[in-house]
């Protein structure tokens, strides 16, 4: 009876077995890296906006407080995207002829809001409340990064559930005094975040054991 296979196929078959195992593992590794990559999380990716608004200029340069525009951030679920009137409180006086601000003037003239592209978009099944985070001592910078250094706004943190849970499991690593919430450059005194964090958890009555209950975020 003639041979069915050429002897070289012995090597090939061994290779294919090992190759198959590695290919399967490789696929898993690649998909894991993909879901954590900026392609999926949009970290560091700049979206097209109707107006080239610079937080670096307004916050870092001019020193405008976050709450001047995001008025409801301390008490409401949403921080509040400012209405065109807020922009015009300055820009009716300065840079009032700038071509860059034409969409803002159009918005005021036509009484239509500026359609900003949402940068931090949580899934609909997640309940997030800005107010409680600020009241209990989470600074803007903890989630939004150095927004005062961003010429154009991008997401600094992945906002994955893993990332949320990291803080909900160990809030003492991130919590800060209420006076320092809007301070972009705050560092814990003496570098001892943990001692301060544990004290603030006591003072602010934060129920750490309940922070990871499903219904805290999925309501």
């Amino acid at each position: 009876m003639p041979q069915i296979f050429h002897p070289s196929l012995n090597t090939l078959s061994r290779l294919s077995i090992f190759g198959g195992a590695f290919a399967a593992l490789g696929l898993l590794a690649i998909s894991y890296m993909l879901v954590g990559s900026p392609y999926q999380t949009q970290v560091g990716i700049i979206h097209d906006q109707p107006v080239q608004f610079s937080h670096e200029h307004h916050v870092g340069g001019l020193g405008i407080d976050c709450r001047y525009c995001h008025t409801s951030v301390e008490i409401s679920a949403v921080s509040g995207v400012p209405p065109t009137y807020t922009c015009m409180s300055c820009h009716s006086q300065i840079w009032s002829e700038s071509p860059m601000l034409q969409p803002v003037r159009d918005s005021l003239k036509n009484d239509t809001p500026i359609a900003w592209a949402k940068v931090h978009d949580l899934p609909d099944f997640v309940y997030f409340h800005h107010g409680i985070h600020i009241q209990k001592g989470i600074g803007c910078v903890s989630c939004h990064g150095r927004i005062d250094q961003m010429p154009l706004t991008f997401k600094d943190k992945p906002l994955t559930m893993e990332w949320c849970l990291e803080c909900h499991r160990h809030p003492e690593k991130y919590i800060r005094p209420y006076e320092e919430i809007f301070n972009m450059e705050w560092k814990p005194p003496g570098g001892d975040q943990l001692t301060l964090g544990r004290k603030l958890i006591e003072d602010n009555h934060i129920p750490v054991d309940r922070l990871t209950n499903c219904s805290v975020c999925h309501r």
Binding site: F5, G36, E162
Partner: protein, 467 residues
């Protein structure tokens, strides 16, 4: 196990029949795959099962589009056909491992004629079973969340839930069963490779045979691996259905929260598994003329196992009722002593008692154990009975638990039935394909058995090399 499992002697029919030689065994079994063209009957059977499988596909598609609302599950009965079918199919799968692992270690030669087929049946049954937990998820496309894998949610599955234990039990079971079946097939695949005339078949069997040459080194390793796998598979016979029973016992629902569940679930699994082996082998041996391999002796042995495990199951029902009464727990007593035998599902309960406890008692009579038709009918009744048992456990308990104001009836919808019968179509279609492309009886072990029966003095020819 009964005395019927000992080697045949004297007036009992030997296994296999004595006029077989090593050559004729190989010819006879391999010809089913290689020589005989597929018959009219095969085509009709395959078509029917294929159509049924299409029904499954339709039911599943509608389910994915519309969600589990198309099923009959409504508060308070949130577990319905899906869980019933899952437990039923997993149970059926148990015969394969029992036959291949435990009977091998116990040196029961008669297992040789049925182990290949039973193992294939196990695999297909587990495949059907595996569908249902996925289908019953609200969002089946994220079924992989059941597995512990590094994810961006920062979460592990809930280790305290028996549902995650199920995932491990069933996937382990499926993997070990598949490996066991495949390792056992390798020498037979080589036989098919060497005997087939068709180039495509030669290549396909050649790849699957993984370069088997029948050298004594191959045989030595094969035999060692096979025994090791048997040892590994043995605990699975007990563990898988134990864990499936935990789905119920870990909950506090009356009628579920009972320590008798694991042992009587395992017995029930073997009971239904052997019933399914009989349901399938009786027509198979007749159609393909395999009465010489799967003899009356086999049927009788399997009947005895059904009788034994059936009585364990009956004892389980009895102890469940006794313990409910003995516990004096009003909810448990109401559930087991009132709701089941006298409640709105009483007809289902009494059908289950008839199918699982009463009718199998006919197997005490030798005529029923050796008459293929009678045995076939009994095996089907047992299968129905075991499905009803799971239905009673799942549905009756949920429909009438602690609070009478929340009691409600449950009925499967047409989609529930479509999924159940569709899964049978999938199962049968896989079996029809299996019968056409792989040897239904282990040629290797048959040759070995013939060689041993001939008194060990034959020459080591025709590929029947004694390992």
């Amino acid at each position: 196990m009964s005395d019927g499992s000992q080697r045949p002697a004297g007036d009992e029919s030997p296994v296999p029949e004595p006029d077989y030689t090593i050559e004729s065994v190989t010819d006879k079994i391999s010809s089913i795959v290689l020589v005989r063209p597929y018959g009219y009957g095969w085509l009709v059977g395959f078509t029917i099962s294929f159509v049924l499988m299409m029904v499954l596909l339709l039911a599943t598609s509608v389910l994915f589009i519309k969600g589990v609302g198309i099923w009959g599950v409504r508060t308070p009965v949130m577990w319905g056909f899906a869980i019933v079918n899952f437990v039923w199919w997993v149970g059926i799968g148990h015969a394969g491992t029992l036959i291949s692992a435990i009977l091998l270690l116990l040196k029961q030669d008669w297992r040789t004629s049925i182990n290949r087929f039973a193992e294939a049946m196990t695999l297909f049954a587990v495949a059907c079973a595996g569908l249902f937990p996925i289908l019953h998820l609200g969002r089946p496309w994220v079924f992989y969340w059941l597995f512990p894998y590094p994810n961006t949610m920062g979460m592990w599955p809930q280790w305290r839930s028996p549902l995650i234990w199920d995932v491990f039990a069933v996937t382990t079971y499926a993997t070990v069963s598949l490996l066991f079946w495949y390792i056992g097939l390798i020498p037979d695949l080589a036989t098919l490779r060497d005997r087939s005339k068709n180039r495509v078949a030669q290549i396909a069997y050649g790849i699957l045979a993984m370069g088997w040459s029948g050298s004594s080194r191959h045989w030595h390793r094969y035999r060692t691996t096979y025994l090791l796998m048997a040892g590994l598979a043995t605990p699975l016979v007990v563990s898988v259905h134990t864990i499936v029973s935990f789905d119920f016992t870990i909950a506090i629902v009356p009628g579920w929260h009972s320590t008798i569940f694991p042992p009587y679930f395992v017995a029930g699994a073997i009971f239904s598994g052997f019933a399914m082996v009989l349901t399938l082998t009786i027509p198979l041996r007749r159609i393909y003329g395999l009465q010489g391999f799967i003899t009356a002796k086999h049927l009788e042995n399997m009947a005895k196992i059904i009788l034994t495990t059936g009585m364990i199951v009956a004892y389980g029902y009895f102890i469940e009722a006794f313990m409910a009464w003995y516990s004096a727990n009003p909810y448990e007593m109401h559930q087991v002593l009132n709701s089941r035998p006298k409640g709105p599902y009483a007809h289902t309960y009494w059908q289950l008692i008839a199918c699982n406890c009463l009718i199998p008692q006919l197997l005490w009579i030798k005529w029923f154990r050796t008459n293929p038709l009678a045995l076939w009918v009994i095996s089907i009744i047992v299968n129905i009975g075991m499905w009803l048992e799971r239905y009673v456990i799942v549905v009756v308990s949920l429909s009438s638990d602690f609070l009478p104001s929340s009691w409600a009836m449950y009925h499967g919808t047409k989609w529930d039935y479509a999924t159940l019968f569709g899964s049978m179509g999938l199962f049968l279609m896989l079996l029809f394909l299996f019968v056409r492309v792989l040897p239904v009886i282990s040629i290797t072990e048959m040759r070995e058995l013939v060689h041993e029966q001939a008194g060990h003095d034959e020459s080591h020819g025709a590929g029947g090399t004694k390992p």
